[in-house]
Symmetry: C2
Subunit: 293 residues, 2 copies
């Protein structure tokens, strides 16, 4: 049904898993004694948006599993307009794989899905890495209409990866250069690619962000129930999901370490991939009940 | 004039250095290829307040220098009521030692002194670790009169180390237990001790905190001039110098990584000494011009 392939995200074949009504696309590679690491992706991102400089080093000590949720890339189904709906697909996928426990790297939207899963089924994740994301009830989550982001979406000269570099990296020479290097790394994979996400994916996921901003009762109180050791990571100049959201995560999760990077935005893990993978590997290698590593 | 002794902060002899009108007390121990690490202490802290579980591991790869500023412990002179005055003493001490460059660990008040020195004489510090501290113009710095702290100072049953445990650690069982372990480690040193700081030290240092809260011009703009790779560390439940001050440091210093610890207060570096020394050692071992490590 599924096989694990050592090697790189650049050339690992895409696999497909049929679970009930859906067929999920995923890539699985790497090996080692660590728990498998489920990687859940950002707004509109597909399997092809995972930076090999991030996921390949992590695959040297464990299996890495990249996952297209429903309606993304070559996965069937509709894109749910809620984080809870996204969590259901991720859980169905893990159940279909027969994975009862793993570690997780949730980036942006994927980090929200990871939190939702940790609340709904606490037994799944041993350790969690949440990058560039926000708690339920967070602030200023993916408001692409605000001037600091809208200018990039309105510019007809910025399409595809050129726009991604602007919105994922800080407006400095050094961060933009890191963005160019990131795009070059993504472009190494040339076969067996996912189709890009279209406007219907964007609309459903934006709806999920709007719903995630809502909260009832004590703000952030839900985070107290997430006991997993957690590493929260953010760039301090993140315009898409501002770093204050990572502060609220680290303050309210009972067992979380926060790491922030300078001169970087939403894509801090790609900009500082050497540091990030070193820190993430050290965090994942720990079997302490406590997050500090 | 000064000698370096391998070994532990628990039993290294105190040395004295005469510079102009003052005689500074210090301890110097450890060895290795790293730059010497100057350790600058917190409000009312003396040489005896450095946790051996923090400074001894760091001394395995470099010299560690613990320093009593003027009027502290057995150092002569009056305690300056400004951070700038404290920086002058630290610079005089380094000049007297003949140290033109080193790394620095500045904790709380000591972290303010480190920032001041980095601005006044940028050539001194190669890499900076700033723990539980605040930028100039920071907020809610050491307001011991606020209810959340005053209750510990008004309680006649809390004296000395018992009070320190309450104000440096979070009000949880786990953090208070870490506080007890910290005190036990401090108590290992039994000879050649500093006298404790008295009310005149407190008054002058509180004046320094009040002056440090003042700023002119653009708030935090002065931090842009501090180019050193910097590691900022804080416990998320720090009541003495709230973690928001560390956020402002990491957002405004151009080259700083932030690390926060859960379930901990002002003394997060002591509570999570294994993690802190591992992270600090990795940070100090780097010779990259960039802070991420």
């Amino acid at each position: 049904m599924s096989t694990t392939t050592s090697g790189s995200s650049v050339n690992v074949p895409t696999q497909f898993l049929q679970v009930q009504n859906e067929r999920y696309a995923f890539r699985r590679f790497g090996q080692g004694s660590g728990r498998p690491l489920l990687c859940m992706q950002h707004f509109m991102g597909t399997l092809d948006n995972w930076d090999p400089a991030v996921v390949d080093p992590l695959a040297s000590a464990r299996e890495v599993i990249l996952f297209d949720s429903a309606g993304i890339g070559r996965s069937t189904g509709g894109v749910p307009p809620t984080v809870s709906g996204l969590a259901s697909h991720a859980l169905a996928f893990l159940d279909g794989l027969g994975l009862t426990t793993c570690d997780v790297l949730g980036f942006s939207l994927g980090g929200m899905v990871a939190q939702e899963i940790a609340e709904e089924r606490p037994s799944v994740f041993r350790r969690m890495i949440l990058v560039g994301t926000a708690p339920r009830g967070g602030e200023d989550i993916m408001h692409l209409e605000k001037p600091s982001l809208a200018k990039y979406f309105r510019d007809p000269n910025l399409q595809g990866y050129a726009r991604l570099t602007r919105i994922f990296f800080a407006p400095t020479e050094s961060s933009q250069a890191a963005g160019q290097a990131f795009i070059a790394r993504l472009s190494q994979r040339t076969d067996d690619l996912d189709p890009s996400s279209g406007p219907e994916v964007a609309a459903a996921q934006i709806a999920a962000f709007r719903e995630w901003e809502q909260f009832t009762g004590d703000r952030f109180a839900n985070l107290k129930a997430i006991r997993q050791p957690t590493l929260v990571v953010n760039g301090v100049h993140d315009e898409m999901i501002p770093v204050a959201n990572s502060y609220r995560l680290a303050e309210n999760l009972p067992n979380a370490v926060l790491l922030t990077y300078p001169d970087s935005g939403h894509g801090s893990l790609f900009q500082f991939h050497e540091s990030f993978t070193r820190q993430a590997a050290a965090f994942l290698a720990s079997d302490s009940p406590l997050a500090p590593y």
